[in-house]
Symmetry: none
Subunit: 404 residues, 2 copies
């Protein structure tokens, strides 16, 4: 991990500009007749030139063998330790749907469920009801009023929703009401610490009204809550790295994680292409020291199992790269947050191709094509993703020497 | 880090002889028309033979991206963790100038500064006065007498000096008097813990006299102190590794760090060449199990920005290597404490070429030239510098098996 004390001690408030370009789910595997990975197969003359001039390697998002979700994977890329300082599921749910989380809000992940006449759970996912069927129920829950706090309920997907509480002095140390098995009732709301007793009382009042509101519905006639959490109070980029940082992303989740670490979120359209995202960077080039640029469709096409379509996204990014390079960044990092091999149609644990190009400070390695197998022989070796930020900072000459 | 408990449990008091040859600032970068690093460019037939026969890799002195000073970098090479067990700046200052530090001494780094008529700092470095101008002031401060302790003041360089206190029961937990900004007074001496109240009292008496002594001087009419520290009480080589260890170095700093870890410091002349240093090893070959040999000018020429001169030093070491090899060491490690690329004229964070040659136990890798890019593909991979000592011990068959 980026050692926080060390970063605070060594970070300078001047130095080069850094661009961290993240192609979500970049890493892959060969598939069927494709003997190369998607990245190896894609035609990427610009990335290959950067690989030849710079240095590449493989990063492990969390630890060997661990497949990360996008939240922890991005926190690691930003230099945090998602195991030691986890971000609660409720917060990730809120970020994932782009909910405008305020500092101090308590958020939880909810599941609609089915209970029998005795209140015992018969289906923890309410028959996996569709988002369409769930929406009116979400609306009912969202309209519940409890004295002393504001409450918000938003649909996540199908039977899943987010609950957020807003008010003075709330405490997220609340135990799950999800018993994890059928044949039992949803658990009563329980404070996990003394400090959260008041929050538990307020929540209890909400839960009572919410259970009433769902009476008579079917199959979603009850709900369970888990992953109560508040903003994890991660040190922010300006304080930790002395970087004025901006996020350019299309999906809400990535904007949310960026906000958690103190980045400004620049405006984008929901259908922006890589070229358009890079134009946003160009438009704010003089305002920031650090740009996090997030490309989503590499992951989506990987999850679709569409090898060719994922390669096409990588090629689209490659064609747009001259727009970024024309800005003369001092450090350009190209990586993914995790692998999403089309063959597995899912995130995976495979280490992620990572390229550092920093013409004033890099040591060119002996590779000349950006990809997994070249990365195995690259100059960066294999390393934990959360050591990438100190490396990028060093290459931008933004870290003082440690000790005499 | 070398796991101290494990080392104590497993180290045998017999086994092969180890030579740790450190070329200070060995790692480098290509520069201008030089497409190779200095080490790759240098003509090193002996090192290349050792690389072909042995195994090489790259070591990270502190952590990825962190540029170390020579003190922490050497502690890492000796198997310690310079972050978890840092050696205070005062101790490094004392070691750096070759001051004969006694166990229990409290040392601090001092800066001469300029204060205005209200005692507020106007320049934290007293106009960066020259060493020549500072020397008479250092002498004044050195002559101050305080009842109950001995005090020592020595010039470091320009406006910087070292202060050491010697006496019974001193405690180094004293806060900096450096407010870190101009426009404020030097801070009063303050004990950081209850145990250091007496030391703070004694120091306060010294500071009062010292402030008086500088009254009327200009621009160095005051001073600030920071990095109060005592010997960090690191476990010593004989206790930790069961090694009788000796240091052969020309510069005081490296002799000092070696003393901190319990090495005997062998006598050298201030202008000794690598060949002469190796002759010192030869002269004491039967007296020790472990020799740390330090070569300084690789770092100095790197800091000069002189690519060719740094290569010439490496070649000089290479030509002298037969003297070392003629002693038939069981393990010869050749490495640096950090990189000092001539292109950057400074220490850097780039990982350091490291070669282990141990004919009875090494696994030859597929490389045949000692250098950074070959190291990227070498048998040692990339590893933290403070894991080098256990590796060297193992290759000397000095570590027992762990567990049944």
């Amino acid at each position: 991990m980026a050692n926080f004390d060390l970063m605070r001690e060594l970070a300078r408030d001047e130095g080069g500009k850094i661009v961290l370009l993240v192609l979500d789910g970049l890493g892959g595997l060969p598939m069927g007749d494709y003997t190369q990975t998607t990245l190896e197969y894609a035609n990427t003359p610009n990335m290959d030139r950067l690989a030849a001039e710079g240095t590449q390697g493989l990063s492990h998002p969390i630890a060997r063998g661990i497949t990360p979700g996008s939240g922890p994977a991005h926190l690691a890329l930003f230099g945090y330790d998602p195991i030691a300082r986890p971000v609660g599921r409720g917060i990730l749910s809120a970020l994932g749907i782009g909910f405008d989380l305020h500092y101090g809000d308590v958020a939880a992940r909810g599941n609609f469920c089915t209970v029998d006449e005795n209140g015992l759970i018969t289906d923890r996912r309410a028959g996996r009801i569709s988002t369409e069927l769930a929406l009116p129920l979400v609306e009912k829950l969202n309209n519940i009023q409890v004295d002393g706090i504001q409450t918000f309920v938003r649909s996540e997907k199908e039977y899943r929703f987010m609950l957020a509480l807003r008010g003075e002095g709330l405490d997220g140390a609340i135990e799950d009401t999800d018993p994890q098995i059928t044949g039992e009732s949803p658990l009563p709301v329980k404070a996990a610490t003394q400090g959260s007793e008041r929050t538990a009382d307020l929540l209890r009042a909400w839960v009572e009204k919410a259970q009433l509101a769902l009476r008579g519905e079917y199959p979603a006639n009850s709900f369970i809550l888990r992953g109560f959490a508040q903003d994890p109070k991660l040190p922010k980029f300006d304080e930790l790295y002395k970087l004025k940082a901006a996020c350019v992303a299309v999906y809400p989740m990535y904007k949310g994680v960026s906000k958690l670490v103190g980045m400004d979120v620049l405006e984008t359209g929901g259908d922006f292409t890589p070229e358009q995202e890079f134009q946003v960077v160009a438009g704010h080039w003089n305002d920031y020291d650090f740009f996090f640029v997030h490309i989503k469709p590499t992951d989506s096409r990987g999850e679709d199992g569409n090898f060719e379509a994922k390669a096409a996204v990588i090629e689209q990014v490659d064609r747009a790269l001259p727009t970024l390079l024309g800005l003369n960044p001092d450090v350009l990092v190209i990586t993914g947050d995790h692998s999403t091999p089309a063959r597995l149609r899912n995130h995976s644990w495979h280490p992620v191709p990572t390229l550092i190009w920093a013409p004033a400070t890099h040591l060119p390695d002996l590779t000349d094509h950006f990809g997994e197998r070249q990365g195995q022989r690259g100059g960066l070796g294999q390393f934990p993703a959360n050591e990438l930020m100190p490396l990028a900072m060093a290459h931008a000459l933004r870290l003082e020497k440690y000790g005499a």
